[in-house]
């Protein structure tokens, strides 16, 4: 079967391993991910602070393109992109005038027919039901599932998982053979928005997350967002300096963790690309 794929900028750049692992895992279940042609930036997270219409026009264009391409359902691995696309669908469904304006701006027809899935939803819908017997090397580690701020918020619009103390990733990891730990920072902000402007803040914010994960004995942090990953992985030095100790807990995309449980090729999953060496 075929699903649409909107990679977004991160998956083509800093988070190539996310893209690789998503595609690899999908392929293992005979899912063909068809990239939306001529896609553009979703505008996250800056655009909607500047211009509402534009911030909706950008994602709407992506959705229009997907419609044009005949896609019924697309997977959006990046939590920020997912948030923007879903938000756009919600806003445009609510306000026909806005819809007309956006359609006009894009010069593309928009009906809102495309179903948008985040990575967890995609896994839940197409992978988990077929997981039985496929877990060859159970991911037998204590893991801290980290959802970040965008994957489950705002609940009224996304209608995905619980806003506080979400569970969906934990459930998935349990199926992959892991032991999810109960911890307090599942939806705490990693500081992604300040990643460039106030790097020092990132150290503090991400540090708390990594610190708590470590304190509760996590052997890996599992994420579903390229921003989260880059902060927790790439900014490990800043984190370490904030915490005043060296922590080497690796940060894995959920697709990577599942890939490992399926015993897929580590390289195909892009594990070699991480800053913090993946030892699990």
């Amino acid at each position: 079967m075929t699903l649409g794929l909107y990679p977004g900028c991160s998956l083509k750049g800093s988070s190539r391993e996310y893209a690789e692992s998503v595609i690899t895992v999908a392929k293992a279940f005979n899912i063909n991910l068809e990239e939306i042609k001529d896609w553009n930036c979703c505008g996250a997270t800056a655009a909607h602070n500047m211009n509402k219409e534009l911030s909706l026009a950008l994602p709407a264009r992506i959705l229009s393109l997907a419609e044009k391409q005949g896609l019924k359902e697309i997977v959006v691995p990046c939590a920020a992109c997912y948030s923007r696309l879903t938000m756009t669908k919600y806003e445009l469904a609510k306000d026909p005038e806005l819809k007309a304006a956006v359609t006009d701006a894009n010069g593309l027809e928009y009906t809102g027919s495309v179903n948008v899935l985040n990575i967890i939803q995609m896994l839940d819908k197409y992978i988990t039901p077929n997981l039985d017997g496929r877990v060859i090397k159970p991911f037998d580690h204590r893991v801290a599932c980290y959802y970040g701020c965008l994957l489950v918020r705002p609940h009224e619009i996304l209608k995905f998982d619980r806003e506080e103390d979400p569970q969906s990733m934990d459930v998935l990891m349990l199926k992959a053979g892991a032991t999810p730990i109960d911890w307090a920072f599942k939806t705490e902000c990693c500081g992604a928005g300040l990643s460039v402007s106030r790097t020092s803040s990132v150290g503090r914010l991400s540090g708390k997350i990594i610190g708590d994960a470590k304190d509760r004995g996590a052997e890996a942090v599992i994420v579903a967002c390229p921003m989260c990953h880059s902060n927790l992985d790439m900014r490990r030095d800043a984190i370490n300096s904030y915490l005043g100790e060296k922590i080497d807990i690796p940060v894995l995309y959920i697709t990577q963790a599942i890939g490992l449980a399926l015993d897929l090729d580590r390289k195909a999953l892009g594990l070699q690309r991480h800053f913090v060496k993946v030892t699990v």
């Binding site: 619980r162 506080e164 307090a184 708590d212």
Partner: protein
């Protein structure tokens, strides 16, 4: 044969300044069926009324139209005058010449013309008026009180003390409700049970009160003064007559680890149990879900030890039918339960508890005998945090309203804690302190100023455990939203007060309405706070909205007075402005075809199915029937009925049609 009298009032100059009253009287006097027509300075004055009365007698008037002020003002006056002169009061109509004409238009022909039109409408209408008699409904002078918390207890006692019978039903094994669980009460800090239990005993001993505990309302039929209630007495597995309440069974019961409802799960109880020592009735019930005998088929220890052989394992639920005239609903409220606050770890961390649980900890009769010890390890918490508005005033959580009692009980909790744990530190996170009430604000100030409770204005975003401490992280909005983190030993959530589970179902059984939060709806938020929209059903206490004890008691007494007022009459008199389904001779019986769309349109469930049977008992026709006790006369059904089989007295098809015709045509 209509002989209508028209009485045009000048209302001093109020009408006559802009309307030519004499002309109105003269013109109308020429209309068909008008036998007498006159204008006069003040119709509502005694001479004015006498004018009407004598005209009725002398001219043999069959209908009266008084053209004066708004009927909302003087309709009763003139109807009474007509009645005194021997004319059915409903043969009197009023044309509103003052509010709807003279006061709102300038002097001129058009105004007088309008006045004439307004009178003509009613002259024509009154030709179709029928003598109506007030509806008499007998009253069964027994009240049903549902829910035996403080509101139910108060209402029962108040009604019983007026000399009327009361049936009080309580779903739990004992009456007492939430108040029996409380430690001390604000703002006086007197012991809750000490003031409550005497009332409970009074209920049990009152000759006018029949108490059914462990009982629920099964169904309700009927209408004001004449309800028929079915009450399900759940089986207690006990012959209450034989049981002496010695308590031997409860001490011998081998199943001892059941979380006690009374102690909010902080204590344990046995499978055969009395909820608390002062329970009324002080007789045990068997909790069949946890009883070994009911699970495995053997045990019967209680039966063996019972000295009076009162245990009945095969006892079944009993349905009691009762005829009652009025109902007071006092089913109270409940608090939001775990997993509603994942961010606060309620249910995950044993030391995050609800306010009600704290009451049990602070209560001398509680599991810790009144010492504040945390549930996880029994240690005395050195630092304790209270969160107000846990759920309340949070539209995102679906509870936009204020639960009203939390501000006060949190202050009380903090105060109790400070009194019991010397050197302990207590924090209260709050949004606003709402302490409206006699001595309430003073009470809160005392907590802050005398007892040193730290009040932090702000919300807590998250509680998590770290190194055995509960990290409460929030923001202090008075300090420019500075992040605050407190490492606490225990956290108390002032969880939102919400409607009982099943409130909706009960409301449907009772045919009363409820608000979006499932609290029962009062008939008018200001002027009818204890009535429901269903006549004869009243509300008391927190089933209507979160209420504290004094309010609940006041409401209960209010409801009791309403009931007593109702019971002071042998018959209820109601205005006969009600809907009626036409009846005809057999074999037609009625033009009603029995589609019963009116049933769904009626806001009062006043329309029932009536089956007409032949001699063999076979149904030959189903048709609608209006229950005059329930119908309030809105007429929604009338406009809805396709066959025009329902009509509403006082606003009949003929009358309304005629009014429109008369409005636009001269007669």
């Amino acid at each position: 044969m209509s002989k209508i009298g028209v009485f045009v009032c000048h209302c001093g100059e109020n009408i006559s300044a802009t309307v030519d009253c004499a002309k109105v009287a003269e013109t109308v006097g020429n209309y068909d069926g008008v036998a007498f027509s006159v204008d006069y300075t003040y119709m509502c004055s005694d001479p004015g009324q006498n004018l009407i009365k004598s005209a009725i007698k002398e001219k043999g008037l069959t209908g009266v139209v008084v053209a004066s002020c708004s009927p909302r003002m003087h309709e009763p006056t003139f109807r009474k005058a007509c009645a005194e002169a021997g004319l059915n009061p409903f043969m009197c109509e009023m044309a509103n010449l003052r509010e709807h004409c003279s006061w709102v238009h300038d002097k001129g022909e058009a105004t007088t013309e309008k006045a004439i039109d307004l009178v003509r409408i009613l002259v024509e209408k009154v030709k179709y008026n029928h003598s109506l008699n007030d509806i008499k409904v007998p009253v069964t002078k027994t009240a049903l009180v549902i829910g035996g918390g403080i509101a139910g207890i108060q209402a029962s006692l108040d009604i019983a003390n007026t000399g009327h019978k009361v049936i009080l039903i309580e779903k739990d094994p004992s009456i007492g409700g939430h108040m029996s669980q409380l430690s001390e009460t604000f703002p006086t800090l007197d012991c809750s049970q000490c003031i409550l239990t005497p009332r409970m005993v009074e209920v049990a001993q009152h000759p006018n009160i029949t108490l059914y505990t462990y009982a629920e309302l099964e169904s309700l039929e009927g209408f004001i003064g004449n309800f028929k209630a079915k009450i399900r007495k759940k089986s207690k597995s006990l012959d209450e007559k034989l049981c002496t309440g010695c308590g031997l069974c409860t001490t011998k019961c081998p199943v001892k680890k059941i979380p006690s409802e009374f102690n909010e799960g902080l204590g344990k109880r046995t499978a055969i149990y009395v909820p608390f020592p002062q329970a009324i009735p002080n007789k045990p019930v068997i909790d069949r879900i946890n009883c070994t005998y009911y699970i495995k088929g053997k045990c019967k220890v209680c039966e063996i030890v019972c000295p009076t052989k009162a245990i009945r394992f095969d006892q079944e639920d009993e349905i009691v039918e009762a005829e009652v005239g009025a109902i007071v609903i006092s089913t109270g409220f409940t608090v939001k339960q775990p997993d509603f606050f994942p961010e606060y770890g309620y249910g995950k961390y044993p030391d995050v508890i609800t306010g009600l649980q704290f009451e049990r900890l602070a209560s001398a009769s509680g599991p810790t005998l009144g010492e504040i010890r945390r549930p996880s390890d029994g240690k005395v918490p050195e630092k304790i945090v209270f969160l107000a508005c846990a759920g309340s005033r949070d539209p995102a959580k679906g509870i936009p309203y204020c639960s009203k009692i939390c501000c006060m009980y949190i202050a009380k909790h903090a105060m109790l804690y400070q009194h019991k744990v010397h050197g302990g530190k207590s924090y209260v996170f709050y949004m606003d302190i709402r302490a409206g009430g006699k001595m309430y604000e003073e009470f809160v100030r005392r907590a802050i100023e005398d007892d040193g409770v730290n009040y932090v204005r702000g919300r807590v975003s998250r509680i998590y455990e770290k190194n055995g401490k509960l990290i409460v992280s929030g923001a202090d909005t008075l300090l420019n939203a500075m992040p605050v983190e407190i490492e606490a030993d225990m956290v108390v959530l002032a969880t939102a007060g919400v409607a009982n589970e099943g409130a909706e179902e009960l409301a449907q059984k009772l045919h009363i309405s409820y608000d979006p939060y499932k609290f029962f709806a009062e008939a008018h938020p200001k002027l009818k706070p204890v009535e429901t929209n269903t006549a004869g059903i009243f509300l008391a206490g927190a089933c209507q909205a979160p209420r504290d004890i004094p309010e609940s008691v006041a409401m209960a007494s209010g409801a009791a007075v309403k009931v007593a007022g109702l019971f002071s009459q042998d018959e209820l008199t109601r205005e006969p402005i009600i809907a009626v389904v036409n009846r005809q001779a057999a074999p037609v019986y009625s033009s009603c075809v029995g589609c019963f769309l009116c049933v769904s349109a009626c806001p009062y469930q006043a329309i029932e199915k009536e089956e007409i049977k032949n001699r063999n008992g076979e149904v030959i026709k189903s048709m609608a029937k209006v229950n005059p006790g329930l119908c309030q006369g809105c007429g929604t059904c009338v406009a809805f009925c396709r066959t025009k089989s329902i009509d509403i007295q006082g606003y009949t098809h003929e009358q309304m049609y005629t009014e429109v015709m008369a409005l636009l045509n001269e007669y």
